[in-house]
């Protein structure tokens, strides 16, 4: 399989956060110390090799970066300080951009200014809409509720699903994976379970507390989504739904706060380097949980009508989140990580069928 060597790949990748990997002298320590690496997908060393050689096509087809959960063992023990874990992280960002078809993700990942401008524009738009509705709070809350619903539908069908198909094209079709049909079906059930639990993390040592924090944020976020959008948290009278909303909203902002603090303290290998997109992702998630919580609280204590600015802020954050940060930001790792395991299992099944394993 011949492919073109891309000498500018290093420069390109360095925009996504990784710098030192060219130090690597291929001792294999990182692969050997990794708890997740398997004979069918040897990483990080092989991936570093592809990056060093400028094999862009191989890298796009490589799902291994998504199989890494960044425990940091490889970077800590690397004899060259080449930071393999950070390269895997940078590659996940790079692949996020490559899978995304509109090119907006690339713009936002590479230029912080453009992301900020886009966020400001969305905020202005929300303000303008509110202005056209004369800041009538019931009309606006009604608008906000249907906006959330349509955002989810549109972002999914226009951006996320096509991106997943692109990911499938790059990692399965282009990589010439020939998996038996049965493995597509059997892998799918595992995919769904894995998407919400990320049980693979347990293969790594010392990741349990991190998994728990992550799991609580993910399940909190997803339930909050269901409760606000489909169960109409802000409009409902059902006490059970209201209380569930408080719990999930609280989960989201409390645990994202913990994650923000740990990123700030840089106490572990995996949070030593943070890209701007990491910050936006986690801070907006925090703000979303916090403002949703406060909005419902203000409704319950009958203060929202007098403090309508709160809902305005919440709506801005929700829209920025749904319109920019979900489709073109780090949110997508929720899908890519799970589908990567699916595609990787297809690859293994294909190799087994061909008798190469």
């Amino acid at each position: 399989m011949s492919q073109r060597v891309n000498p500018n790949l290093k420069k390109d990748l360095s925009k996504y956060g990784s710098k030192d990997w060219n130090e690597c002298f291929h001792c294999g320590n990182c692969t050997a110390i990794c708890q997740l690496t398997e004979n069918e997908s040897l990483f990080p060393r092989k991936t570093i090799r592809q990056a060093q050689m400028g094999l862009k096509d191989s890298l796009i087809s490589n799902v291994d970066p998504w199989l890494c959960y960044y425990c940091g063992d490889c970077s800590e023990s690397c004899p060259r300080d080449a930071n393999p874990g950070e390269l895997m992280m940078a590659l996940r960002r790079w692949q996020t951009v490559k899978y995304e078809w509109t090119g907006l993700a690339g713009l936002f990942y590479k230029s912080l200014a453009s992301l900020i401008i886009a966020l400001v524009l969305v905020a202005i738009a929300i303000f303008a809409i509110a202005y056209t509705k004369d800041f009538n709070h019931e009309a606006l809350m009604h608008f906000g509720h249907s906006l959330e619903f349509w955002l989810i539908i549109c972002v999914f069908s226009i951006i996320l699903v096509p991106n997943l198909i692109r990911m499938f094209y790059f990692t399965v079709i282009k990589a010439k994976v020939k998996a038996p049909f049965g493995s597509y079906i059997s892998g799918f059930f595992f995919l769904i379970g894995h998407m919400f639990t990320q049980i693979r993390t347990f293969k790594c040592d010392k990741q349990t507390t991190r998994w728990l924090a992550h799991f609580l944020v993910v399940s909190g976020y997803l339930s909050l989504l269901v409760i606000t959008v489909f169960l109409n948290w802000f409009g409902t009278e059902n006490q059970l739904i209201i209380n569930l909303g408080y719990i999930t909203g609280g989960l989201v902002f409390i645990f994202t706060f913990i994650l923000i603090i740990s990123r700030l303290s840089k106490n572990r290998e995996l949070n030593k380097y943070s890209h701007s997109t990491d910050w936006f992702f986690i801070i907006w998630l925090f703000l979303m949980g916090l403002t949703a919580f406060l909005v419902r609280l203000f409704i319950d204590i009958d203060m929202l009508t007098n403090n309508f600015w709160l809902y305005m802020i919440h709506l801005m954050i929700i829209t920025q989140w749904g319109l920019l940060l979900v489709p073109f930001g780090k949110w997508t790792h929720f899908l890519y990580r799970s589908f990567a395991v699916y595609f990787s299992n297809l690859k293994i099944a294909g190799l087994k069928k061909q008798g190469k394993l």
């Binding site: 002298f25 291929h26 001792c27 294999g28 990182c30 050997a32 110390i33 040897l42 004899p79």
Partner: protein
């Protein structure tokens, strides 16, 4: 050239992973004041991607020469040569001012770096300009360190009919080489090469051997050093001891044997090993029950057949000698494998260092050369004893403590080859054994070494590319995890015994001695030579030469060669009756003015 000698100087980046480097900005400031220097560039301000900028600068300023200053000046030569030619100059007018070559490594060496640049600007070789005066020389020589380097240097000088004082810290000469079983690549027995030399040293009329002694202070000037040597009390009269060994036999105290790399026990009164030179017993006061517990033993004195030979009241003694030359050959220490805790040394009994295996394999070692498991004796010491089980699967892990940013950056040079040798020896002793080597790169760098590697490879030893990441105890066995890079798979295999190929490190004695002698050390602690390439034996201090691993990791053949070279420098000065004073005492001004003079003479000739 336009024969105007107008010059530009480019300063390379000096980091190399170290923070203590020459102050490039100070050198630049100095260089700007030298006549003919028109432009200076710092690497940080000038990207070496566009030669046109250089071409234009050369043309605009009518330059005819470019000097590249720094540690790896040669790396940039072709770039500047092309640019100079493009601007109409001659490629030979790109000159190098190599800091590293002339020992300017740290911030404190900045003045020397200035002198190196000045010499380059004046077009004079540094060693020509930095020529110290000569002084009379005392024909006696002091050799510090009795390993193979010290032995070789002493024999060479003594063979030239000159007096040598050989000072050795431990009870015997021989150093690390005496501990080795075989040497690579010939698989000759190390002792067969070394012991005759040791005996020669012991018997040579021109060599005054002072074992169990340390250099306390050095005063004086090149050619006339006054050295105080501390002779530690041996509590045994070496002149009357007949070496019968009765005392040691009866001594009730057992402590780990340094010579056996602490894998066996020795007595408190001992000789390090049977072929020790001098072959006289030493009483180790720290462990002697009589000395430590106020006369509660005294067995050795009672059984000694020579009257008054053992004397518990003996005191340390300081002797003063006068010498003209000093050779430093203080060797090395091995990397402390406990620091790399992923390999479990010190936690798992059957993880060994290479030096421990070396003693275990040796026929004169604790098990007479049988490779067995490490077991506990009745008192709980983990040692090797005959009768323990035989390991059938042995792994050797390369680069332990070397080529690793977490420990030592440098390659220790000898580990690849000695690891191959150890694999061969294990296979020789246990033919059914499964022996694996885990390496990063195979550095078979010397004469016959590549062939040696091929030979071992063909002996059925698994040579696997891939650094081992972890060693864990797994039942009675040790589980290794490694990437098999060539086989493209993860290797998770159990072994009975794991050997760590530990690297070499500068020892503390070398550092202390260097301070005493005014010899500088590099960032890794190795002693600095006068010229990295052209004069690897002399130092910048007159009358002080260096030989062996204290100058940098090297194998036995290189060590012996360097020791002979050091001896030839010493003999040269003795035969001339004159010795060069210290280059380090030359002031920057004096080097600069001499360089100026020489350049005038050279121009006059042209």
């Amino acid at each position: 050239m336009g024969e105007n000698n107008l010059t530009a100087i480019y300063f390379c980046k000096l980091s190399n992973g170290h923070t203590d480097v020459v102050d490039n900005l100070a050198v630049e400031e100095y260089a700007k004041k030298i006549p003919n220097v028109r432009i200076t560039w710092q690497a940080a301000d000038l990207s070496l991607t566009n030669p046109d900028f250089i071409v234009n600068s050369v043309k605009e300023n009518n330059l005819s020469r470019i000097i590249i200053a720094g540690d790896e000046a040669g790396m940039y030569k072709s770039f500047f040569a092309k640019a100079l030619v493009k601007a109409g100059g001659k490629p030979e007018n790109v000159l190098l001012a190599s800091f590293k070559e002339y020992g300017a490594l740290k911030k404190s060496d900045t003045d020397r770096a200035k002198a190196i640049v000045a010499c380059a600007v004046y077009g004079v070789a540094f060693e020509e300009a930095a020529k110290p005066d000569v002084a009379d020389v005392n024909p006696n020589t002091l050799v510090i360190g009795g390993g193979i380097a010290g032995i070789q240097a002493s024999l060479e000088i003594a063979g030239g009919n000159q007096k040598v004082f050989l000072v050795e810290k431990t009870g015997t000469i021989g150093g690390h080489m005496a501990m080795f079983d075989k040497t690579f690549p010939t698989l000759d027995c190390a002792a067969c090469i070394l012991t005759p030399k040791m005996v020669d040293v012991g018997q040579h009329p021109n060599i005054d051997l002072m074992n169990y002694s340390e250099v306390q202070s050095v005063e004086g000037v090149p050619g006339d050093y006054k050295v105080k040597i501390l002779k530690k009390a041996k509590f045994v009269d070496s002149s009357t001891c007949i070496g019968c060994g009765t005392c040691s036999e009866k001594c009730p105290v057992k402590v780990p044997s340094e010579f056996d790399s602490e894998i066996s026990l020795r007595k408190a009164i001992y000789i390090p090993f049977p072929q020790a030179v001098p072959n006289k017993y030493i009483l180790d006061a720290e462990n002697c029950r009589y000395i430590q517990e106020n006369g509660k033993c005294g067995v050795c004195q009672k059984v000694c057949p020579v009257p008054d030979c053992i004397d518990y009241t003996m005191k340390d003694e300081v002797v003063e000698i006068n010498v003209g030359n000093i050779i430093v050959s203080t060797g090395f220490k091995t990397f402390d494998a406990k620091k790399a805790d992923q390999f479990g040394y010190g936690k798992f009994p059957n993880v060994l260092t290479s030096l421990e295996l070396e003693r275990l394999i040796n026929a004169a070692g604790p098990t007479e050369g049988n490779i067995v498991y490490r077991t506990q004796d009745k008192k709980g010491n983990w040692i090797f004893q005959d009768g323990a089980g035989v390991p059938n699967k042995v792994a050797v892990i390369h680069c332990v403590g070397s080529r690793d940013e977490n420990y030592n950056k440098y390659c220790s040079k000898v580990c690849c080859m000695y690891s191959l040798k150890l694999a061969h020896l294990v296979k020789e002793k246990i033919p059914q054994a499964d022996v694996s080597e885990f390496y990063i790169d195979m550095r078979a760098f010397g004469k016959g070494y590549e062939e040696f590697y091929e030979r071992i490879d063909n002996e059925g030893i698994n040579i696997i590319r891939g650094r081992t990441a972890t060693v864990e105890q797994c039942g009675k066995q040790l589980k290794l995890r490694s990437e098999d890079i060539e086989g493209s798979k993860i290797l998770e295999e159990n072994f009975d015994m794991v050997v760590l190929a530990v690297g070499l490190e500068a020892n503390k004695d070398s550092l202390d001695l260097a301070k005493m002698l005014g010899v500088t050390v590099d960032q890794d602690g190795w002693l600095n030579e006068a010229n990295y390439i052209g004069d690897p034996v002399n130092t910048f201090t007159g009358g002080i030469s260096i030989a062996g691993v204290c100058q940098g990791p090297k194998d036995i053949p290189d060590t012996v060669a360097q020791a002979s070279a050091a001896a030839s420098r010493v003999l040269q000065s003795i035969l001339n009756g004159k010795i060069n004073k210290s280059i380090k005492d030359l002031s920057l001004e004096s080097i600069e003015s001499r360089a100026k003079e020489l350049s005038k003479i050279m121009e006059g000739k042209v």
